[in-house]
C-alpha cells in the first residue's frame, strides 16, 4: 500500500505538480493497479535471468567518425525561451 506521502514523493521525483484531488485520486488508482501487479509476486522466477531486450544482439557500435551537426538555428528553433544562441530557463533554486 502506498500512502499519500509516497505519492507526493514520487510526484516530486518526476516533476509533476499535482493538485490535492489529483494526489488523492492518484493514491487510490495506484493502489488499485499495484494490487493487481502484486500478482507477479506469486510467479516463481527463482534462477530466471531477467530479459532486458527481446533481441539477442551484442556489441552494436559505431566508428568514431564525425558527422555533420544540424544547423544551430534549427536546433534552437523549438526553444520555448532563448537568449541569443542559448536556451533560457527560469532561475534555479537549489533544493
Amino acid at each position: 500500500m502506498i500512502d499519500r506521502k509516497d505519492v507526493e514523493h514520487v510526484a516530486r521525483l518526476t516533476r509533476l505538480a499535482l493538485t490535492e484531488e489529483e494526489l488523492e485520486r492518484m493514491r487510490e488508482q495506484l493502489n488499485s493497479i499495484l494490487t493487481h501487479l502484486d500478482t507477479l509476486r506469486g510467479v516463481d522466477t527463482e534462477g530466471v535471468e531477467p530479459t532486458a531486450h527481446a533481441v539477442d544482439l551484442v556489441n552494436v557500435m559505431r566508428e568514431d567518425e564525425v558527422e555533420p551537426c544540424l544547423p544551430q538555428d534549427s536546433m534552437l528553433a523549438n526553444a520555448p525561451d532563448r537568449s541569443g544562441e542559448l536556451f533560457r530557463v527560469p532561475r534555479i533554486i537549489e533544493e
Binding site: N59, M61, V66, C69, Q72, M75, F87, V89, R91
Partner: protein, 493 residues
C-alpha cells in the same frame, strides 16, 4: 593544515575525464571545445523525441586502455544504464551511464608521497555521457535565469572511482596528479582541468584514529584544479573535525566547493535527490568483451611512466634524475630511445648518459615543452641528433663545435653533416694534411724549436697554439698534440 591527530581522514576520489574521441559518445557530433553555443548538437545529443544512442567504439577502447593501465579487471559483460535526475543541462533528464555492470573494476594506482610509494585502489571505471553547460545570468543565487549550451552534451566521459584509500588532502592531490599523468601518457584525455576535461569530486569522512568503520561521508563537488582539491579537502577536514569535536554529527550530503570564497557549502541534501532510478538502457544492447579484444588493447598499451623510469635506470644505467626527466612524457622517452636505436659505431657504455645529457640540456633548452606536440614538431628529429653525436664520435667535429652545430640544426632543420660540410666546420683530422701544417709551423718558428731543444717545454705549447691558429681551430687537438710530440722527439734525437 592537517586533521587533528585523533582523527583519521578517509578520502575517495571520483574523477570524470573527457575521452579524446573525435565524435560524441552516442552521436556523430564533434567534441571540439570552444565552438559557438549549440552549434555542435543534433537531435540525439539534445535528447529530442524519438532519437536513439549508438555507442562510440573508440570511447570503449580508450576506457579499456585506461582500465588495463590501472590493472583493472575488464568485465566480459557490461551494459549501460539510465541514471535519472532533473537538471536543465541534461537533455533527456537521464544520463546514460553504467551501474551494475561497469566496464572495469578492481585496479590500482601508485602514488609517491613524501618520498614513499603508496598504492591506491581503484574501485570501478565506467563510461557515461557528459551534460551541457549551464551559465547563470549573474550568480547562481541572484540569477533570474540560466542559459544552456548543449555543445558538451554527449561528450564521452570516463568516471573512475578510487577506493577510500587516501589519507590526507595531500595524498588526494598526489593521486589526482598521478592519475592525470597516466591519462595524458595513454593519450586518452588531454588532462586540461581549466577546460573541464578532467573534473574531480571527493568523498570525505573522518573517524577516530584506530577505528575501522567508516564515518559519515560528505561528497564535495567542483574541485577543478590540483590546488582546489587540496584546499577544499583541507577546509572540509577541518570543518568535520570541528563538528565532531563539538559533538555534532556529520550530515550525509553533497557540498559545493566555492573556490573564490574558500569554503564548501551544502547543496543537495534532500533524500530524493539521490533516488536515481537506474535501469538497463533499453536503447542499447549489452557489450561482450572477449579476451581477444582485451589482449588486443593490452598489446597496444604503452609502457607506463613508472615502469619506464625503472627500466631506464636498470637498462641504461641512468641516474634517477635523468630517468625522471626523460619519462615525464611518453613522447620524450620515445625520442630518447629513438636516438639510442640509431647506429653509433664507436659508442661505449657511457652512450646512454651522453644522449641523456644532450636531450636534457640541449633539446629541452630549445623546445617549447616536452609533450607530444613539442616533440612531434621538433626541428631536430632523433635521427639528426644521432648524426651529430656520430660526428663527435668519429672526430669530425669537437664537442664545442657540436653545440654550435646543434643550434644551427634547430634553426635550419638540416642535419649535422650538411651544416658541418657547408660551413667547413670539419676538424682537420687527416694525419698527412695536419703533419704538413705542423711541419710548416715548425719551419716558421726556429726560435721556438731552439727553446725546445734547450729544454723549455713551454715552447711546445706555443707551437700547438700556432697550429690551431693556422687551422682556424678545426684541427683535432689530440692529433696535433701527438704529431708535435713525435716531430719534436725526432729533432731532439
Amino acid at each position: 593544515m592537517s586533521a587533528p591527530a585523533h582523527y583519521e581522514v578517509v578520502i575517495g576520489l571520483e574523477v570524470h575525464a573527457q575521452l579524446l574521441t573525435r565524435s560524441k559518445m552516442f552521436c556523430g557530433c564533434p567534441t571540439t571545445f570552444g565552438a559557438a553555443p549549440n552549434s555542435q548538437t543534433c537531435p540525439v545529443c539534445q535528447g529530442m523525441p524519438g532519437v536513439l544512442p549508438v555507442v562510440n567504439k573508440k570511447a570503449i577502447e580508450l576506457a579499456m586502455r585506461t582500465a588495463l593501465a590501472f590493472g583493472c579487471r575488464v568485465n566480459p559483460a557490461c551494459r549501460f544504464a539510465r541514471k535519472h535526475y532533473y537538471y536543465p543541462d541534461m537533455p533527456k533528464n537521464y544520463q546514460i551511464s553504467q551501474y551494475e555492470e561497469p566496464l572495469a573494476e578492481e585496479g590500482r594506482l601508485e602514488i609517491d608521497i613524501d618520498g614513499a610509494s603508496r598504492t591506491i585502489g581503484i574501485q570501478r571505471l565506467h563510461l557515461e555521457e557528459d551534460v551541457g553547460k549551464l551559465v547563470h545570468e549573474g550568480t547562481l543565487e541572484t540569477a533570474q535565469a540560466s542559459l544552456v549550451d548543449f555543445n558538451r552534451s554527449g561528450v564521452p566521459l570516463m568516471e573512475t572511482v578510487s577506493k577510500p584509500d587516501l589519507r590526507s588532502p595531500e595524498e588526494a592531490a598526489a593521486y589526482l596528479k598521478a592519475f592525470r599523468a597516466v591519462l595524458v601518457f595513454l593519450g586518452v584525455c588531454d588532462g586540461n582541468m581549466e577546460e573541464g576535461s578532467l573534473r574531480c569530486d571527493a568523498n570525505v569522512s573522518l573517524r577516530p584514529r584506530g577505528s575501522t568503520t567508516l564515518g559519515t561521508k560528505v561528497e564535495i563537488k567542483n574541485l577543478n584544479s590540483f590546488r582546489n582539491v587540496q584546499r577544499a579537502l583541507e577546509f572540509e577536514v577541518k570543518r568535520q573535525a570541528q563538528a565532531l569535536d563539538a559533538g555534532e554529527g556529520i550530515r550525509q550530503e553533497t557540498r559545493l566547493w566555492e573556490a573564490d570564497r574558500g569554503y564548501t557549502r551544502s547543496m543537495r541534501s534532500k533524500e530524493y535527490a539521490h533516488d536515481y532510478r537506474y535501469f538497463p538502457e533499453p536503447d542499447l544492447v549489452p557489450l561482450r568483451i572477449d579476451s581477444r579484444w582485451v589482449d588486443e588493447i593490452q598489446a597496444a598499451l604503452p609502457e607506463l611512466p613508472r615502469a619506464r623510469r625503472q627500466r631506464f635506470v636498470a637498462q641504461y644505467g641512468l641516474p634517477g634524475y635523468d630517468a625522471d626527466v626523460l619519462t615525464q612524457s611518453r613522447a620524450l622517452g620515445d625520442y630518447y630511445e629513438a636516438v639510442l636505436r640509431e647506429p653509433a659505431p664507436s659508442a661505449g657504455a657511457d652512450r646512454p648518459k651522453i644522449v641523456s645529457n644532450w636531450v636534457m640540456s640541449e633539446l629541452l633548452r630549445v623546445l617549447p615543452g616536452d609533450d607530444e606536440r613539442a616533440i612531434a614538431t621538433s626541428p631536430i628529429p632523433p635521427r639528426h641528433l644521432a648524426g651529430l653525436l656520430r660526428l663527435i664520435d668519429d672526430g669530425t667535429i669537437s664537442g664545442k663545435i657540436a653545440k654550435d652545430v646543434f643550434q644551427k640544426m634547430f634553426d635550419s632543420r638540416e642535419d649535422a653533416a650538411t651544416i658541418v660540410g657547408r660551413e667547413g666546420l670539419t676538424q682537420v683530422a687527416d694525419e698527412t694534411a695536419l703533419g704538413a701544417i705542423v711541419d710548416s709551423v715548425m719551419a716558421a718558428n726556429p726560435k721556438a724549436i731552439d727553446d725546445f731543444k734547450r729544454g723549455k717545454t713551454v715552447a711546445k705549447k706555443s707551437l700547438f697554439g700556432q697550429v690551431m691558429k693556422a687551422t682556424g681551430g678545426k684541427a683535432n687537438p689530440t692529433l696535433v698534440d701527438r704529431l708535435l710530440e713525435d716531430k719534436l722527439a725526432k729533432i731532439q734525437r
